[in-house]
Symmetry: C2
């Protein structure tokens, strides 16, 4: 055990050392990822009790004896990531050697090697982007910790990532400022230009991306290992996409851009795997909102700085699906119980889809008394909802419980109808249980991650086939 730890640290240092000779940033990125992983698995078991002591704790509801676990432990991964990224700086940016100044910290008559950047992986100007990325992540961690500590209201925490993205957006404005996007070639011919300048709206778009990624990871949660697992899968998909460019692209600037993304993602993978080790079924720690926000922000930052935010959305299809599928409950079109976790059955040890009850059971279904006042059975809206739910059920996208009811009209005649009384809670997790049947918690998690990974691979293929067709410019094949 100790031996393997020492070995992995030695390997990590070797990889970092190799970088210095061969100028291979990926090797030192892997080295730092290993070091990050080791630090995380060293710290988490040692700090768990401290977290419980200050009230960061929760019960795991999907286990027989509902064990008490420390919450918010993902904050450790996040902070370790930050410091990993600090120590990574000297390896990917070469020092400007300021030989002499007039003293007092002035840069006046310096002799710098600005021009001898043959050895530098990234131009010095990219350091500004790098620092703004780390600042943005650090702000997100700070706000995430505030959220975990203070139990911020949902409508406030939804916008937290936009606040955290402020340093990123402001530095983007100062340092780069490109606010135009490529348009599909069909539209381009019509407009006589290949790009459209969105101006200030581009910043709104970037803020929206920053809001979307963290929140979409945060709502696909509730099963041991799923928050971290989906982040790991996303990181893998992003990396596959990056390596497509690094190995096959003929544009040096495109290669550099995706190398930058790789440098941010590989250490992220390291600290996330360290967390996953403790969060995997049966979980010994919970990750907390801090990690979800942090992980989502890593992807948002990579997408924004790499200028591939449209591709990013393609990789988030499972999360987007989960959000759209949840909309009827999130906006209270159908009743939404306080918890939508799948139901754990102690006898079988399996997870079952949890159900939401649409109307009360007290023998008066005929009067149209629903649990949710919005869902009146006899209203046209109520009937529309029943129709939609029935269709979803036929498409196997919903598990329903139906009851026979007798409806009496105003003219005294009665009609016998079949009504949907219960539906599964509208989350991707429950849907997977509806489709694949009851599963043990870890199998459930693996199934979701497998689906996510397959969709991600498909998205990469689509991106480089249909995308090429749509935009006539792929940075990869052209």
């Amino acid at each position: 055990m100790v031996f393997s730890k020492i070995l992995s640290v030695v390997v990590a240092l070797g990889l970092i050392y190799f970088h210095i000779f061969a100028n291979q940033p990926i090797s030192s990125a892997i080295g730092f990822a290993i070091l990050g992983y080791q630090v995380v698995i060293y710290l988490i078991p040692r700090l768990g009790s401290s977290f419980i002591n200050i009230g960061l704790k929760g019960n795991d509801l999907s286990k027989p004896n509902r064990p008490l676990l420390p919450e918010c432990m993902g904050a450790i991964s996040a902070v370790v990531y930050l410091f990993t990224m600090f120590f990574f700086i000297p390896f990917i940016f070469i020092p400007i050697m300021v030989v002499n100044t007039s003293g007092g910290g002035n840069r006046d008559y310096e002799i710098s090697n600005y021009n001898q950047q043959s050895n530098a992986l990234f131009p010095h100007s990219k350091l500004i982007q790098y620092l703004s990325a780390v600042l943005c992540l650090e702000s997100q961690i700070l706000l995430g910790i505030a959220d975990d500590l203070f139990d911020v209201k949902w409508r406030h925490k939804f916008f937290m990532p936009a606040i955290a993205s402020i340093p990123l957006l402001i530095v983007y404005y100062i340092d780069f400022g490109v606010t135009s996007i490529l348009v599909p070639s069909v539209i381009a011919k019509y407009l006589n230009q290949t790009t459209v300048d969105l101006g200030v709206f581009y910043y709104g778009y970037m803020a929206a991306i920053a809001i979307f990624c963290p929140n979409s990871i945060n709502i696909l949660a509730g099963v041991n290992g799923l928050e971290v697992g989906q982040s790991v899968v996303l990181a893998l998909i992003f990396l596959i996409n990056d390596f497509c460019y690094i190995f096959f692209s003929r544009f040096p600037s495109s290669i550099s851009s995706h190398l930058f993304s790789v440098c941010l993602l590989i250490p992220f993978l390291g600290v996330s795997l360290g967390l996953l080790k403790f969060n995997w079924y049966p979980a010994r720690v919970f990750v907390g909102d801090t990690y979800c926000y942090f992980a989502g922000m890593v992807f948002a930052v990579v997408g924004i700085l790499g200028h591939f935010s449209k591709t990013l959305l393609l990789f988030f299809v499972p999360q987007i699906f989960n959000f759209i599928y949840s909309v009827p409950q999130l906006f209270h079109i159908v009743p939404c119980p306080r918890h939508r976790l799948p139901r754990f059955e102690e006898k079988s040890g399996l997870m079952y889809p949890s159900m939401a009850v649409l109307f009360a059971d007290e023998g008066d279904e005929t009067s149209g008394k629903f649990k949710s006042p919005k869902l009146k059975l006899l209203d046209p809206k109520g009937q529309l909802i029943q129709t939609i739910l029935k269709s979803l059920s036929k498409l196997k996208l919903l598990k329903v419980v139906e009851v026979e009811s007798v409806i009496s009209s105003d003219d005294g005649s009665t009609k016998k109808v079949t009504l949907i009384k219960e539906i599964n809670n509208l989350t991707l997790i429950n849907l997977v249980l509806v489709i694949f049947g009851p599963l043990r918690e870890d199998k459930l998690c693996i199934t979701i991650l497998g689906i996510q990974f397959s969709i991600g691979l498909l998205a990469i293929v689509c991106r480089h086939s249909i995308g090429h067709f749509l935009f006539e410019n792929d940075n990869l094949w052209k």
Copy 2:
């Protein structure tokens, strides 16, 4: 009340707007300081109860009924400062307008206005320093919050600022890398060079500065308003020094360097005054370690980036004195009780110096039984300590309680001696009470701040008279 708030926000926006026309960074710095102040005084009363709810609370021991106050509220000032500094960026750094690229976020065929920097306050390269400063402060806040939450051990928290300074030092290495310091002209003549390159030791020196400033503010604490008050006084002294350069220096680079310091310090003054409003006697909130560390790090960052860390130490003379004065207790040469706060007497409402008892009272002073086993009366060391304490007492630097004792030597003869049994706890706060007599808490705080401010002004005068003489290079008069 509401009217004055609106008025101050309008004035702030006016000052910021004025900057855009007149390129006056100081005006927008004041504008942001006012905004920061308003946000802080808006948030603190609203968040106090949330802090108490999660256990961040403490009793004010120097008040009649020991009221319960929220702790760690300085974190709010610190976070507001961070976001103020983010919004400040576009005002002091002009955007590089990247007109077009090949798409995909590449900078390849851009047309930028790198050369048209007549309008820019600071060169673009200074943005890297600025971002590293903010990163360092944000890391310090993160570690400070961890400290306030988890009650970190003293020997660990002492080194926290060194960890927080990592981004600053690494970026300094990458971006600037000057590790030489000026030497006094007497030595310079002997060495035949005016500077000495400290190499890697310079980073150790900077880390030491980063450790020193936050910790020295953190140990000069315990009276309502003192932590924030001393930070405000330090900021004022730093600003007076900066304005000396801005108004009188003939070196443009030196003016720019101190303008940068002003841009960091004025918003800091704003958020600190907001906190002081609530922490001043009688305090409604405690500031917590987070604020002390954050404030100290602001000064460390300003000193390091402005390359005037030696002058910085001159401004910290009261804190250095407090540390040296505390050394005998910190290192347990004389006994150190758990709390060294001055003693509050409920009847008079005044603060008295608190005392440390050197040996037990049970009638056996003659046997040399001391409370602290290290302080054996009959040892040469014990006698030396008694001698030193007596001298300090004669210099009015110590309040002592003496007792008459009879010491029996080995040969049976007895000797009557006067022994010091109690001394005031060795902090600057207690010393001020020893010299000026019992004071009400706010008068005590004002006295200490007055002394600090006077010493600071004296330090500025010394810096520009003796410093000029020593180094033959002042960046100001020459």
